[in-house]
């Protein structure tokens, strides 16, 4: 946002909105990292931490919506200001979806850890790294208001999709080979799927910035 508004409260409101969205993004990323690490290192107590902040993430998303609406009513923004507010709302909606996926992963992790470890769990790591990178890039793109990021992120998403397909194939054949581990393998497939959705949402975020 170039230049200061004459009305200082207008600037403060816009800044606050942006910070909230960024905060939500950071929360998503860090909680995702904690969940996956808990899964890979088989540490249960970390999961509890994620579950404790899930309400915070939801209320933050709600608050972002309310603030955005107040901003519109109060300041009747036009042009780039209006675009920014609308973007923030849509980005927050996507981050909210990402957050719910993170929570799903966190909820699934204890169930996975209850069963014996399977070697195929390692396939999740590269998928997670890619997804996390995409998420990080999308948040930066939002922060910088950079519509160019969409092309890079599309490529990332393609890679994520490839990794996901490979993982799915591997898991499906593993279930055929060793049917007694089917429970764990199915859970892992769902986790992989969540990671893939997260990648999609990251691309959506970048797409929002292009109008």
């Amino acid at each position: 946002m170039p230049g200061k508004h004459i009305l200082a409260s207008f600037d403060e409101a816009l800044t606050g909105l942006k910070e909230d969205v960024l905060e939500l993004g950071v929360l998503c990323r860090s909680n995702l990292s904690i969940s996956i690490n808990a899964l890979l290192k088989r540490e249960l107590d970390q999961v509890a931490q994620v579950l404790s902040v899930q309400d915070d993430m939801i209320s933050l998303a709600t608050r972002i919506d309310e603030d955005a609406m107040n901003l519109i009513v109060r300041f009747q923004p036009v042009a780039s200001d209006l675009r920014f507010v609308l973007h923030s709302m849509k980005v927050a909606a996507n981050l909210d979806r990402i957050a719910s996926h993170v929570v799903k992963i966190a909820k699934r992790t204890p169930k996975i850890l209850a069963i014996a470890e399977v070697v195929e769990v390692n396939l999740l790591e590269p998928l997670y790294l890619r997804a996390d990178q995409a998420l990080g890039q999308s948040i930066v793109a939002y922060s910088d208001n950079n519509p160019e990021a969409v092309s890079e992120l599309s490529e990332e998403d393609n890679e994520i999709d490839k990794l996901y397909k490979k993982a799915r194939k591997t898991y499906t054949s593993a279930i055929e080979d060793s049917p007694e581990h089917y429970k764990e393998l199915i859970h892992l497939m769902f986790v992989a799927r969540s990671l893939e959705r997260i990648g999609d949402h990251a691309v959506h975020i970048a797409e929002i910035l292009v109008d």
């Binding site: 170039p2 230049g3 200061k4 004459i6 207008f10 300041f75 042009a79």
Partner: protein
Amino acid sequence: MVIEMNQETATLGKETPDEPVIGRIKGKTMIECNDVSFSYDNGKTNTLDHISLDIPEKQVTAFIGPSGCGKSTFLRCFNRMNDLIDSARITSGSINIMGQDIHAPEVDVIELRKQVGMVFQKYNPFPKSIYENVSYGPRIQGVRDKKELDAIVERSLKGAALWDEVKDRLNSSAFGLSGGQQQRLCIARAIAVQPHVILMDEPCSALDPIATAKVEELIMELREKYTIVIVTHSMQQASRISDNTAFFYLGKLIEYDTTKTLFSTPSQKQTEDYISGRFG
């Protein structure tokens, strides 16, 4: 005066980079301004600086800009009300209305003003009755027949959305009306002479929100018959009711485009700053 049909699309300004006006306005041209400069002190300083734009007919065009940017001055050029000030004059360029240069020596200013009407910021009905106010214009043009005048008064008051409210008290004083009604009376008075153009200089600035809304609605209706040019301080009003908007700053035309474009994706940073409330 003969209405000359100009180009279908009125273009504005040139495409050179330092010319600030771009955008396509559609419609037949009613008022054409070419490189108009204006001064209040015999040319020593220019209040308006090389303004070129075309105002299309039967649309609402809004002039916005900070105080003192020259938009009211520019508006008053169209009906040559600035002639009343001794030292004021056009220092360059020309203004053509319906194809006729309005500063040509053969032009009678009185005739011009019959075709280009004006509504002022502070409503100013005459201290006469409602009927006499509206019939003033036709009367001075020579209409004497009472029936004809009655018809004109009724038509004008209906056109100003005031008829139902005053039809039973046409002979009462105009000052008995509320502020919004008085302003609509002034509009009725202006349209009684059936001008081609109606100039409005901040017509709602003295009115409360409901009266403002009524006048705005009236403007939207009048659009079908008259070309309206409105100067306004309220950007929300400009964005609500105008088809095209011109942004002025310090006597220069910064941007002129359709309202939709100017308010959502203005091309000039100055415009963006002004409409977003950012300056400095």
